[in-house]
Symmetry: D2
Subunit: 384 residues, 4 copies
């Protein structure tokens, strides 16, 4: 580490769950220094959040436009370099485009945009810019998820035949938006969330996890997307039969009405030589199953792990890391990549292993494909 | 228990996995006495098996026809009363019909018949006869499965909204039938198994478990049925999106190519008040999840269980029972029902709680619906 | 199997938990036929139990003396061959000695006798007789316990260094004997139980498990034995530091006042190459831990198990067996041994692998050593 | 948060496992800014570490004495306020005393000192100073450990009767110090570790966890302390029978030769109404067991938790936190306490809930008591 990156936040004001998470995630490893923010659409909240975070008041902005413009005018060695956008979906595209155009690197919450069309434009923008964009598919930041990917890549379980991925949550099992609970309010509002409710919010995580771990792409699917809770305006539950590029089949489940369920995103993959499974609830373990010999439990921090899993672990086996560390891995790899490029070096493979617009575009296409398949009630090709 | 029922077996000769299982299951609680058998299509094997089982040689028959005829001729107080048919699917219907016509009670392995048409006929036959038929959906014999059913029936988790049921196996992940392995050989042969491979063999178990636990019926489904292993003649993998009679949705998975998987059939059900889950691998536990309060682990043999779960448990909590006891529960309840009826008594609700032709007919319709939906690649109504 | 052994029971009348367990255990595999019984000290109960079990009334006896005398007078080909004694501890020695003297094989509940002195006499008696005696240390009947023993014997985890064995129960956390609950009543009564309460009832199981799995003997120990519940006359809780014959150290815990605990006897053994652990609650799994490579989960019924584990399993991996099957394994091996000897054959090593008076004597010496160490509050040599 | 505390480190240079852990732990929540360090006894390593951490070179010191003197001379508003001492045990007392005398707050690794005598002096020093000292018993920083303590304090499981606490590790199962591996080298060296090896390194953690969770004190114990690996100079394995102030009994195990074991410190406590258990490996769960009703799984981040558990959690249920967050909880509570006192406010009970010299003194007395009991091979009173 030769220096800290200066980071600014759009969104993440007081009371926003994900804002505090981001700050922990980028503080943990010492690669970032928070220097500015437009923390809320409400300037008073933004100001108060800035004070709490001990920021220079001149760098706490009332709007994201003001932030981007204000920071742009500061001397290069002072101004923010990375802008982290943690707003609801309908305020992803505009600030991200504006930030990229103004020369900032961007961190963006998922799903990447409000619409597939926006996703395409943003993806093109990043490709043609000199900056980097990181998309917060946190679950691929877990070391044992990376281990799973490397094992599959190396052929450990053979040719993939079957993929089960699921994301059960229960927090929307009632009409929570009726009480204006902040998280529920915008996530169930099509004018702020976009086409997908649960499908966009957590379905994209499950989808991303499946494609990341297997290294395959979903080529066709057949979806069932439901709005279970009366009065809700967006889907809160869904499932799909999947077909992958290599012919493997799969099942994806994502629901927010599984009363009592927490957040146990999990995946199981079976190849022709064996199977593996990972659950977020027990994130430091990766189970490998083999025909004719005992199943194995691979553990984060152990000496036998792959380079990539090891790089994304801070503690020896038996010292549990979790969600915040997975998130911090994304931020750390993003910083290492930016700094390497800045120094004219080639980032290590483990560093550039963070989700970006390629994954974001796939995610938005997934939402669109799910919704369309549900309408036609049958199999359709994955929308490119 | 006022007397033991005399039982005869069709199938289950030396080397047949399921034959020995049945004998353990009906011996465990002392309600049956094995008196006769036609244990194999090969009379030599049948004879040898009979010898091993210490049977009177005159009651070891070369064919099932001979058994039914032979036993019928014996004096009432000597002849078999129950005939247990544990042959491959294509030899279910004929012996079952013949046995019923000759006045025997019947135990039948699942799936009930070779075809849906046979299932309908057999169901009608049982309805119009004075005998009883038990179908071996073993997994509904587990006490904690019964507890789950009773909790749902009593409204503990509210109106059902979501059902996940799965049955992953790995034993057919290679072309095992190529080596003539006995279990694989007939199960993958359409002339002996019928329309469904994995769908019939284990998909019907998963389907039955879902309907039994929820008390709901599947009304529509959309299936994907695959033959993954090259050279195989029947499906070895499948999944379906489900819709239930009350509007709940669900997902069913059944595969025999999940390399490394054993036999962990499991179910999760979510209602509007909470969720429950059960796994065969940990069959003595039932997990209840609740919004806003701690999840609970209900345990077989505990004092707080429902009447039905308690009736189907032999040991106090902490003394694990398993698959053989679940199987024995089916046989025991069947015996208690037969004996009660014989004595002119009304069998207790817990006694008549064993699967029969209603479940068998549903199962065969499930296979037919899965196959048809897979052909049309879309949702179809459940075939009645 | 060339014939069934004729078995009689002493104890195990209506309402006795363990009587029904024994009957299931010896019925399961078809090696025994119950022919006689003295089921209770109360002749009325004995008679009623015999009726329920469909026994010939002439072979239901009012006392164990009557049973042994009565059966002795029957023709050899009719009379019982094995007598299973499932009474409280103070009624172990006399009927066992009498049965052995009369030429019967004996099955005996644990702890073997009321006192160490009795244990020594019984052990000598068996050594000098032609009959066999099986002691019901059920937990060593589990296939994965046998697998653990064979792995250790083969040196898989190296030289043993550390042993943790524990048996937590909670059912005596209140003064249950105050309500005359049958199980509690005699187990907490020194005139019927002997020197040890929890130490004798479950401590001996833990001790036996440790010596069986490791193949080592405890040579010294330092015990703490407590009576926690007010009014209780015997210990209900204990622990000990152990030293084994090879210098390994260990810890044993056995308690019946762990409120909420069920019956999860478990063991962990560490050698200089790795460790293994087994818990009754998850009895079909055996966990192997290795420095520098992933932990493994060995599973009952799997193809890679040792001969002895396989012999003691009835179903393929994924079909859970449990406590009753472990118990049945003891009975089955005992029968196979008796029948082999009867035929002049050498029983297979897996058959003679059942606990007998050697283990019973060790168990009674364990109780005595624990009590004495507790009195002196320090380390003492294991009493020979 | 009104400002960040300025922190300096003694020890924790490149390659020191625990140094990086501390930096993550105090960075995570934004309450500290690292301003100075004497990172190694080797000034070159100290300098390089300082560079890596982007420190002002003038504040990277060659010795801890230089650090304390150097920082003392800086203006109050610039100089370090907290000194974190993460050196081997023999370099705890001197820098801690010197730092306290110079007016710094102190963070200290465990065990607190090299000897019990030092512990007494340090404890007196802190009592008579105006500064605070935090001792790194990380495991009491876990939210579910705090929940356990609060449940017991509130009487949820009744009067405590039995405590099992254990800490199995395997990393010292070979003569690792022979290879000069840094962690093993000093921990097995009596001139740097003190009286205890495993007993001091992890035994004190287990002991502290037991006293923290139960709110009881160990009053007597009977220990077995062993040096298992040939050539080792300190104990690597130990166990003790415990007696607590209220009469409860317990067992403590701590070993570093459990080959294959990671770091699964765990505790089980049984009262007269129920039991609870917690394992670091599954740190976000707390299991409650009850006689006559289902066991419960309480989960970190859930809405029903106690104030203290909630205060020490950053994410909602289902987003696993781990070891680093537990460590960060200690640092955060320490900062909140210091800042509150600085502002003349009374720190909240949850803030002052961090271990200090009281716990440190108990820990050192524990080591001394264990060693002495092992020598006398019997029960002794806990050394005050």
């Amino acid at each position: 580490m030769n220096r800290k990156l200066r980071i600014a936040m759009i969104g993440g004001g007081q009371g926003a769950f994900i804002g505090a998470i981001h700050r922990i995630a980028f503080s943990m490893d010492g690669h970032y220094q928070l220097v500015a923010g437009a923390f809320s659409a409400d300037p008073v909240v933004s100001k108060k959040t800035g004070e709490e975070l001990l920021l220079d008041p001149s760098r706490v902005y009332p709007t994201y436009q003001a932030l981007i413009q204000g920071e742009s005018k500061l001397p290069v060695q002072l101004r923010a370099e990375v802008i982290s956008i943690v707003t609801p979906n309908h305020v992803h595209f505009d600030p991200a485009m504006m930030a990229l155009e103004a020369g900032f690197h961007v961190v963006l919450e998922k799903p990447m945009t409000f619409s597939l069309e926006e996703a395409r434009l943003l993806h093109e923008k990043v490709k043609s810019s000199h900056q980097s964009l990181m998309l917060c598919h946190t679950y691929t930041g877990y070391p044992m998820v990376k281990q799973a990917r490397q094992l599959i890549e190396a052929g450990a379980i053979g040719e993939i035949r079957k993929v089960f991925v699921e994301y059960p949550q229960g927090w929307l099992h009632t009409y929570l938006e009726g009480s204006k609970q902040k998280q529920a309010d915008w996530r169930t509002d099509p004018t702020r969330s976009g086409l997908g409710g649960a499908i966009g919010d957590i379905g994209t995580h499950a989808f991303n996890l499946a494609e990341y771990v297997t290294g395959l792409q979903v080529s066709r699917l057949c979806a069932s997307v439901n709005t279970v809770v009366t009065g809700r305006k967006l889907d809160d539950d869904g499932a799909a039969l999947l077909q992958f590029s290599n012919g493997a089949s799969g099942v994806l489940m994502a629901t927010q009405i599984a009363a009592g369920a927490e957040n146990n995103i999990s995946i199981r993959v079976y190849g022709d030589k064996g199977g593996l499974s990972w659950k977020q609830e027990d994130n430091n373990s990766l189970r490998l199953e083999w025909p004719g010999r005992p199943a194995e439990c691979w553990r984060a921090g152990a000496s036998y792990l792959s380079s990539n899993a090891t790089h994304n672990t801070r503690t020896p086996a038996g010292h549990p890391e979790g969600y915040l560390e997975a998130f911090a891995n994304l931020y750390r790899n993003f910083a290492l990549t930016i700094l390497a490029k800045e120094n004219g070096a080639t980032p290590a493979p483990a560093w550039i292993d963070f989700p970006g617009t390629v994954e974001g575009l796939r995610g938005m296409a997934f939402v669109e494909t799910m919704i369309r398949s549900n309408k036609t009630q049958g199999w359709i090709d994955f929308i490119q």
